[in-house]
């Protein structure tokens, strides 16, 4: 323990050098900027910066990358909250409550709880990375495909809480997402599915295209068609420029719970950052004392998922730094960056290159502080973006959408999909179909399918393997509880009520 503290202090000595602070600042700014753009994530940015950083000392380069990694998460929540336009899959859940808050004039509070929550969870995640990494990393070897499958099933229960007013419409959205997710080459067998003979569909429909189309394009079409000629502008700061005492009271627990959910799942090789946000949103909604506020701008629904998202990002570094295992695209690019400097992450790196490693970890702490300092004063400015005349906001949204969609692979098919799925997003708004279940289906469907089929392939078709490990059995049991408990509680309460009467 003392040893770790000493090393960490040495790391801070590196991270706090003026030149490295400068690189951290550059990374944070760049990260925030790309986080705002849909489809342009930290993985892509770091990949493109790799050749540039050949001129820089490794410490400085990684400190900048750390800034990009965390900065993108801070930036990603801004567009979700203010414009209902999540740029990355990890901020889909933030948009649900966050954008409602912004419409009620509480955008500033939503941005603030998201920034502070990101800071709290990012710091907790980094602390866990510092002190628990080798232990947590062992999880990677314990989790098998059946355990991942159970985790996906548990995450699927989050659909139940974003269902909207009608089960039939909610499930329709979910199955629409599942259906889109099957398009493309099946990785397990190499067979093409639902591609209708087009090469462009062989890799499936890109998640960014669906995200941008359903949210940004669908919303633009809908608002354009329904704007009342006299609609008054919502004054964006109606609900105050800052979090109220009650906001704080309602936020701190979701921050901690989000961090607790996000970090371990993020540190699993197939965990990712989306699953924790789904789980956190479900947990907050189930635990809330005011569940009726969910769907109308409940601050817990922003605080929890944002914290989970950031803690998961710290978690991703666990298998990378301790085992040399890249679990996400971002981690894979960071691994390539290490290799560019002739370094190999893993247990040996702690021995051979402690300065770099502890400098990197220290810079994660520093980056979080920089981002908090950058973002809190910006909250007021971001919110005032909503004062831009409506034609220009939506005109700008469409250009951003084009950047995200066309920038992916300059594919005409993607533009066609944007138009088509955008129209579907419009129809969904007109007839009150929820959007979130479709995205959950699209994100989780293919992952769940792959894990299920891997589990069955390894077990040679024995389905009992799905409950064959303690982890899988426990997770499935929790999933069953999440689905059926509210039902029983309601019955029980009803019975109590009757007996009283």
């Amino acid at each position: 323990m003392m040893d770790i503290l000493q090393q960490l202090l040495a790391g801070f000595a590196i991270a706090l050098q003026p030149i490295n602070l400068f690189w951290a600042l550059v990374g944070c700014l760049l990260g925030t900027a790309i986080g705002v753009l849909p489809g342009i994530g930290p993985a892509l940015t770091i990949a493109l910066l790799l050749p540039v950083t050949a001129q820089v000392a490794p410490e400085s380069a990684f400190i900048m990358f750390a800034g990009i990694l965390y900065g993108a998460l801070y930036g990603g929540s801004t567009t979700s909250i203010l414009l209902n336009m999540p740029g990355e899959s990890g901020s889909v859940m933030t948009a649900i409550e966050g954008n409602r808050m912004a419409r009620n004039g509480r955008g500033a509070a939503a941005l603030a709880t998201s920034a502070i929550g990101s800071f709290v969870a990012g710091t907790l995640g980094t602390l866990a990375l510092t002190f628990l990494a080798p232990t947590i990393a062992e999880l990677a070897f314990i989790f098998g495909p059946e355990d991942y499958f159970a985790l996906m099933i548990l995450s699927f229960t989050s659909v139940a809480v974003v269902m909207g007013t009608s089960r039939v419409r909610g499930f329709t959205a979910l199955f629409f997402g599942l259906a889109l997710g099957t398009i493309g080459i099946d990785t397990q067998t190499g067979q093409s599915r639902m591609t209708f003979g087009t090469l462009e569909l062989l890799d499936g429909i890109s998640f960014t295209v669906v995200l941008v189309s359903l949210f940004a394009v669908g919303e633009t079409l809908y608002v354009a068609s329904r704007q009342a000629r006299t609609a008054g502008v919502v004054y964006p700061l109606k609900g105050g420029a800052w979090m109220t005492r009650e906001d704080w009271k309602r936020s701190w627990k979701p921050w901690l719970r989000g961090a607790l959910i996000g970090f371990p799942i993020g540190s699993l090789p197939a965990g990712g950052t989306e699953i924790p946000t789904f789980l956190s949103y479900t947990v907050e909604r189930r635990l809330s004392e005011k569940p009726e506020e969910f769907g109308n701008g409940a601050i817990e629904g922003v605080a929890g998922p944002e914290a989970a998202n950031n803690a998961a990002a710290a978690g991703i570094l666990v298998p990378l730094l301790t085992l040399g295992l890249p679990s996400t695209a971002t981690a894979a690019v960071l691994l390539a960056a290490f290799q560019n400097y002739g370094l190999q992450p893993g247990p040996l790196l702690f021995a051979t290159n402690p300065g770099l490693l502890w400098g990197l970890i220290a810079s994660l702490f520093v980056g979080n502080v920089i981002l908090l300092i950058l973002n809190l004063p910006l909250v007021g400015m971001w919110v005032r973006l909503l004062l831009i005349p409506r034609p220009y906001i939506y005109g700008g949204i469409v250009i951003f959408a084009l950047v995200g969609v066309w920038g992916l692979s300059t594919s005409w098919m993607d533009l066609l999909l944007m138009c088509g799925i955008g129209l579907i997003g419009y129809v969904a708004r007109v007839y009150d179909f929820p959007i979130a279940p479709a995205l959950i289906g699209l994100i989780l469907g293919p992952q769940a399918e792959i894990q299920l089929r891997r589990a069955l392939a390894v077990s040679q078709g024995d389905w009992s393997v799905l409950v064959g490990t303690p982890i899988a059995a426990t997770l499935l049991a929790i999933a069953a509880l999440v689905i059926f408990l509210p039902f029983f509680v309601a019955k029980f309460r009803g019975a109590m009520h009757e007996s009283k009467a």
Binding site: A47, F143, G190, D203, G324, G346, S411
Partner: protein, 316 residues
């Protein structure tokens, strides 16, 4: 009036600035930024610049999808006769063009040079009873379904290697249990003993093997891999050599002069120190093969892959 002409001026200025940008070598990368082909393309062009062989600048276009065949189709359609257009290519594209039955293939392009190769390795969990390639073949023959083997995507190099090994062992190729993975998950699954064996890039396994959780039993190149005390398949009497090679092709209808110029440049690059540093930094094996020999090599790969993809059931 003044305002109107000012605004028109802004529009004109915005566009003319873009047109002024010069555009020398145009490299089409048939994958999204950040992947293996992207690195190969950008790093090779950087080495060109560093070595001073070709310093006129480069513009990159990423056009990913369908194992690189979308980029290939785009290249054949748009770059016709352009002496400065290059396409990054590799074995994945050869396989992709066959299994996706694309109307265009590498035959439509002008092969220039194969530059790198990344050979595969076969690994097992550290406590596995399989110690040698022969043990592996025996296990495969005994019960192919029970030997779950992880690898990259189905129809890729890893899958084809497993099929070749099954054939070698005399096991039914349609019974092999290939489990596809992406990213670092395969290492965790192998290290945790969830799968019985795995096939992946040699350098990926080499670094992870240092942790003592997995054991590499063979590599698939013509020579042993530096820093690895592991035999090649050929050494142990299994006549299989397979790897993930990458290279460059020119446009269809490239002029003879243009082809000579680029062949000359690739030769100079291959001899330069900058290139050797690049190879070392990325753990790539030198696999330089240029001009007509490269062309013949692509032909041979195409027929090998057609046979192999039929064997694994991807091609009907």
């Amino acid at each position: 009036m003044l305002k109107r002409s000012f605004l028109t001026g802004v529009i004109a200025l915005a566009f003319s600035a873009g047109l002024a940008a010069a555009e020398p070598a145009k490299v089409l990368i048939p994958a999204n930024p950040g992947g293996g082909w992207d690195g190969a393309g950008r790093e090779t062009m950087a080495a060109f610049n560093k070595s001073g062989v070709f310093t006129d600048g480069v513009s990159f276009t990423n056009k990913g999808g369908a194992a690189g065949t979308i980029g290939l189709a785009e290249f054949v359609r748009t770059a016709e006769g352009d002496d400065n257009a290059l396409l990054v290519t590799g074995v994945i594209m050869v396989g992709g063009a066959i299994s996706n039955k694309t109307p265009v293939s590498l035959d439509n392009t002008t092969p220039l040079a194969r530059m790198t190769n990344e050979y595969n390795a076969i690994a097992v969990p550290a406590d596995s009873a399989i110690k040698t390639p022969q043990d592996f073949l025996a296990a495969l023959k005994a019960d192919p379904g029970a030997l779950s083997v992880g690898g990259g995507s189905a129809g890729g190099v890893d899958h084809v290697l497993l099929a070749l090994l099954a054939k070698q062992a005399g096991a039914p190729v349609d019974k092999i249990n290939f489990v596809s993975f992406s990213g670092g998950e395969i290492l965790a699954s192998l290290g945790g003993g969830k799968i019985k064996a795995a096939i992946s890039g040699a350098s990926e396994f080499r670094d992870f093997a240092k942790s003592g959780r997995i054991r590499i039993i063979a590599v698939t190149g013509p020579n042993r891999v530096e820093g690895l005390d592991v035999p090649t398949l050929k050494e142990t009497g299994i006549p299989i050599e397979i790897g993930n090679w990458r290279g460059f092709v020119g446009a269809p209808g490239m002029s003879e002069a243009g082809r000579k110029t680029w062949l000359d440049r690739f030769e100079k690059l291959h001899a330069s120190d900058a290139w050797k540093e690049t190879l070392k930094a990325h753990g790539w094996e030198d696999a330089y093969l240029a001009g007509d020999e490269f062309k013949a090599f692509i032909k041979a790969e195409e027929s090998n892959w057609t046979a192999a993809l039929k064997d694994v059931g991807i091609l009907k």
